[in-house]
Symmetry: C2
Subunit: 179 residues, 2 copies
């Protein structure tokens, strides 16, 4: 295989700081010695969990304002500073659905949009062991949806489920024989 590709940072500047993301402009040196600007959306990263409850998969339905659509997704959320990704996944599951799990296994990590967004998501698999009261964030309105494995696959393949982390988690869980 050829040598790995790489780029070297020459300078960096924060050009926007928002509630969730920060935008940085970096001048980089390319492989041929030229320079280029790289626009970087810096994101805290996220965690999500594919949770199985009594033979069905637990999803959440919520309005995603940024894409102007209600989506069906596995429970997920942004990482808080210093938070362990597994704890974050189980916290989001509990807050959004009320379900709790004793343990979770890492399915893998993914980059949702590596051309512009630094976000890295940790994807877990878990089996629900009990149920409490959902406690979503004050600006979060979510409904739990339980789907059989067959319904889940059908909705991915007919396009009803179009959230990329959800599709990735299902594929990874299937590859590990967990689904």
């Amino acid at each position: 295989m050829d040598a790995p590709h790489s780029e070297r940072t020459l300078s960096r500047e924060t050009v926007f700081s928002g509630q969730i993301i920060r935008v940085e402009h970096h001048q980089v040196e390319l492989e041929n010695g030229n320079t280029a600007l790289r626009e970087c959306c810096v994101h805290p990263g996220g965690s999500a969990v594919l949770a199985v409850w009594g033979g069905r998969v637990l999803l959440v339905r919520q309005f995603r304002y940024v894409v102007n659509k209600e989506l069906l997704e596995i429970p997920a959320g942004k990482l808080k500073s210093g938070e362990d990704p597994k704890e974050a996944a189980l916290r989001e599951l509990r807050e959004e659905t009320g379900a709790f799990c004793e343990e979770a296994v890492l399915l893998g990590t993914i980059y949702p949009s590596p051309g512009i967004l630094s976000e890295r998501d940790y994807l877990y698999f878990a089996r629900v062991s009990g149920e409490g009261r959902a406690e979503p964030d004050p600006d979060e309105f979510v409904s739990s949806v339980l789907l059989t494995k067959e319904e889940l696959f059908k909705r991915i393949h007919n396009g009803e489920i179009c959230d990329s982390k959800t599709i990735c988690a299902v594929f990874l869980a299937r590859g590990k024989g967990l689904l």
Copy 2:
């Protein structure tokens, strides 16, 4: 099923305009009548193609500065204003690898990070029909990599392939019996 969730725009403001993305802050009315701020990274959207060439899958290896890592992905790129997503996918394939295809079928569309990013990606499947000269953008350094189906699955499941659109495209192609 309960009524769909939704949020209503009260006002919007562009707070950052960059080379690729624009950030908008929207005040929205929530379901309970309260208001909240939604930070929206507005992205032009993208297209990508899972291309098969002589029984193997054609990927590209490139350094992704924003995540500080070299990734293995299906050929992809941002949509140009007014561009047809299928044309964009085949253009990116040609530019990045030199391969060209007569036709492509839509596998599906995905939202990579619907909590913050408006990006929607169109995923295609195609069979390579010929080869010309790669013509990547001046700031783009990519290497073509051909993998058998077995190698592709292995690298997804062992974490070497961690780009979400690539994983989604493989899963969707498999569900349609194309891979």
